[in-house]
């Protein structure tokens, strides 16, 4: 078997957001500024028919995440709750890969305008995949440990969705 101790990926574009200095945990307010992906020229042809999908997965490199990771973490938006790193969306992971589901607003040339993304401006893009209804939308999905929190579920959901409140 080949040596896969180190796996190499490359930046194929960049994600533009209004969040220059204080992105993560910042509420996503789509009225303030634009969110778009700029894909490198050599990959633009690969966007053909992407616009037929209402939603896409955006996969990116969390280049500003600290390298130090902890296997048990305290989510930023809830006090005194400790969960396993893989049961969280914390950016400080063994492999700092970010994943978001966004709505496509329009595609023009090398730019994909999307719904809000709670990430820093100029985040390196790794991949885009179509979000396919039956494959990816799970009606019977749940909220995991979040459902067991004592707080008001509706309030917690605003945090989860990144809605200002």
């Amino acid at each position: 078997m080949e040596d896969i101790a180190s796996i190499k990926f490359k930046k194929i574009g960049v994600i533009k957001t209004p969040y220059i200095d204080d992105a993560p945990y910042q509420p996503v307010d789509e009225d303030k500024g634009e969110f778009y992906i700029v894909i490198d020229d050599e990959y633009v042809e690969g966007l053909a028919k992407l616009g037929k999908f209402r939603y896409i997965y955006v996969i990116y490199y969390l280049d500003r995440a600290r390298e130090e990771t902890h296997m048990i973490i305290n989510p930023a938006w809830i006090d005194n709750e400790k969960v396993g790193l893989f049961a969280s969306r914390s950016p400080e992971r063994p492999n700092p890969i970010g994943l978001s589901v966004v709505r496509i607003k329009k595609i023009t040339g090398n730019k994909i305008f999307t719904s809000g993304l709670d990430i820093f401006d100029d985040t390196p893009l790794l991949d885009i995949k179509p979000y396919v209804k039956d494959l990816d939308s799970k009606k019977d999905s749940n909220y995991g440990w979040i459902e067991n929190l004592k707080g008001n579920m509706e309030h917690l959901l605003l945090h989860i969705k990144g809605i200002p409140h």
Copy 2:
């Protein structure tokens, strides 16, 4: 800005499936064999409370994908249809990162038993994230260009879902 021409990730575990030699495009039959993730010892603690979620995202390295990529591709399950690479789930991508939504069956120690995964045995694991109902399940998602195909939609969906038929 740091040089991110090459981004390095590492294997944090391995995905076990019954597909030794002929995985992709193979229908997923959950009755035949087990599907489970084995996470490396140093990350096991990070699985705490993951079992509270019904679904998870599994992110992996498509280590058997050919390095040659084409920006316009012909999906394996439909003749004479050409789409952009990013509008497809083809494994031959600039960054061969795989993404699947799977159901957790049980977690015992360093093993996560899941619903079917249409990938080769021993695929390197990169990350696991919780699939959170409101964030990730989009009721108004669609089938993109697949909806425009002339074939029978129900039949095409069997292909998309990887159901033997």
